[in-house]
Amino acid sequence: MSKTKRNWLSALTMAMVVAVLASLMVAFPIAAEEEVTLRILGIGGWTPSELAVKMGPLFSKYAEEKLGYKANVVADFAPFTSLYEKAASAFAAKSSQYDIIISDSQWLGAFATGGHILKLNDIIEKDPALSKIVKDIYPQHIASYMTYPDGSDEWWGLPQEGDDLVLYVRKDLLNDPKEQAAFKAKYKIDLPRTYEDFAKLDWDTFHKVIEFFNRPPKMYGFAGEYAKEYDFISDHVMSMFWTWGGDIIDTKTNRVRGILNSKVNAEALKYYKDLLKFQPPGAISFGIDQVINAMAQGQVFSALTWAAVGRPIFDPALSKVHDKVMVVMPPGKILENGKFNRIYCLGGQPWVISKYSKHQKEAIDFLKWWYLPETQWEFARRGGNPVVRSVIDTEKFKELNPWNRAYVDMIPQGRDFWHLPCYAELLLIQQEEWTAYMSGATKDAQTANDNIARRQELVLRRDGFLK
């Protein structure tokens, strides 16, 4: 056999061996080597989102032991302010890049109407474990994190974490006998000291408290969110409206005029602006980070922000006041009819399953694992806010983290806002008009609210939501 022939024969044999091996691999995939990689898009720098991924190895272990497959959880993060565009861009491209997306509750409408996320009703109804979980969730959380359209029973997401606005106060100052005596001498009332005192505290009294502890430049009385970024000012202003007895929209007709620009809302908005005089310079641009920082550095006596971000305030490595802070429910308002009213914005996020995911079954397995009591407890131990009532309604949970009691007690007094597909436009209008008012560009509260009502109705009419 000539050398050339030999070479040809060798090449042909090699090619046949490769072809046979390749076809065998296609026909009989090696099951043991299969590993499902679940990809989650979450909020960067946001503990509850990060915990979902940090707890991934626990799911891997669970999947291998109980579900019979290997799974791996990886994440991609984007800051709050750009998460929506990242998620929406992936959906617009019909990308299978993410299996689960930690969304914000207001985005459900946009994602659901675009057909980008799985509708969960059938899945939940057919799965006894999931049905049991949903029955164990607060109705406020179901309405906020799962439902679109509002008031319907169409479910598109499940709560990844719950959250609400709580008040962080300096308990060392409140318990100082000298401060108590000075406060009593000045205002003829007792300084609130305990969680229970704050549970019945109204804004009129709390105003006196923050005025009393406002000692610039060493310490200021209060810190709240006023920034134009994302929904920072809106969450706080809307909470004031609701607590003052106002509202932002008629959910049946989607009318805004006469509701958002009511007299009581103008009064609440002005009140929130007036609180700036008890806050550090530059408080107009305070978002979540700045409020936490002001509290953790001992710059303010009190801070109104989310329960989910409490951890740094109690971390000795980050906080000067880690052992001096108590978390309570924010003040309420005694309405004209004498009723004590306290309604604050719900935070937290749902997670949704991408319609383009190649691992939908595994994503559902992951969510079912997430709501197991042991997973929810582990989430709580690491600083997250679980949602399953059989966990959070226990005394053990309420004592686990300093913010847990206020978090749970505020859920029935929590409210979410529109889940409409045009939410981003409605939100930006509020952010623009309210920051314009806070910065002095708009002179009075009524004008700011009138502008919002007019502009929001234009958007709602254009998109066919105004009835």
Binding site: T81, Y84, E85, A88, S89, F91, A92, A110, T113, G114, G115, H116, A227, K228, E229, P280, P281, G282, I284, S285, P421, C422, A424, E425, L428, Q431, E432, E433, T435, A436, Y437, M438, S439, G440, A441, T442
Partner: protein, 285 residues
């Protein structure tokens, strides 16, 4: 032979230009006549000129246009004045000139996002360096980015800090081209400095200056990063420039058709400015 070879050599660049510039531009212009959301999908609905009409009838568009125009006018005019002054200074011989030049040019090589973040800290009302000195020496504290009347000049100041060296560079290049013998002759004839400047220097550097102003105007018109990082367009809409609006329409509201029409309008404005500037350049230049 030479004539026949021109096209094959030009083709790669022409194809590149068509695929990367002309085609997307035509696509955007086409989309601007439709109602379409890339997020909601569905079939685009032809609206004719409706997107343009609704934008031009919207008072908020004109408010943003005024903001953008104020930003461009403030930034580019001060960059021109400062750059011009620095150009004249560095056209002279003085000790330390070689060390000073790279320091002056340094802001140009900083990423705008990084510069924006730096200046947010510098402007901070509580612990920013400017307010530290204002409080120490004058007992005043300014909320640069928090007050509606200060926010735009504060953002423009960053643009001026970054881009005045570019104006200086262009001015310096123009000054190097001024014939020395004319200046020497004028000096011998004891012609006053402003006459020398008007009749000898200015005609020679005018084309370069016009080009510099044109480039800076177009660039300032599409400023996004500094504003986005420093104020997010706020407070209120005090720093809401047109590129911010395009970004919001396209990637926040996902109103793709509307965003395309807004982008076309901004492009038209940029082209109009270019034409005006080009008319200002003498034909012989």
């Amino acid at each position: 032979m030479q004539e026949r070879m021109k096209l094959p050599f030009l083709m790669p660049m022409l194809i590149f230009l068509f695929v990367w510039n002309i085609l997307p531009l035509l696509w955007v212009v086409g989309l601007s006549f439709y109602q379409f959301s890339v997020l909601q999908g569905g079939i685009p609905r032809f609206l004719g000129l409706w997107n343009y009409i609704s934008i031009l009838e919207d008072p908020y568009f004109w408010e943003r246009f005024r903001t953008t125009f104020s930003f461009v006018a403030l930034a580019v005019s001060l960059e021109l004045v400062i750059g011009f002054a620095l150009g004249f200074l560095f056209n002279q011989k003085f000790p330390g000139k070689r060390i000073m030049l790279p320091i002056i040019f340094a802001p140009m090589i900083i990423a705008p996002v990084a510069a924006g973040v730096f200046f947010r800290f510098i402007y901070d009302p509580h612990w920013g360096v400017i307010n530290y000195f204002l409080t120490k020496f004058f007992n005043i504290r300014l909320e640069f980015l928090e007050k509606a009347d200060l926010a735009l000049p504060a953002v423009a100041a960053v643009d001026i800090w970054m881009w005045s060296p570019f104006m200086m560079l262009m001015c310096l290049a123009g000054l190097q081209a001024v014939p020395q013998h004319l200046l020497e002759a004028a000096e011998i004839d004891r012609i006053p400095w402003f006459m020398r400047f008007r009749n000898i220097v200015l005609p020679h550097i005018r084309p370069v200056l016009v080009l510099a102003v044109l480039l800076r105007t177009i660039d300032a018109f599409k400023t996004f990063d500094i504003v986005f990082v420093m104020t997010g367009g706020g407070p209120g809409a005090a720093t809401e420039v047109l590129p911010m609006s395009i970004y919001r329409q396209a990637f926040l509201f996902f109103r793709t058709g509307q965003a395309s029409s807004l982008a076309v309008i901004v492009l038209f404005i940029a082209v109009a400015f270019t034409s005006i500037y080009l008319m200002m350049i003498p034909k012989e230049a």
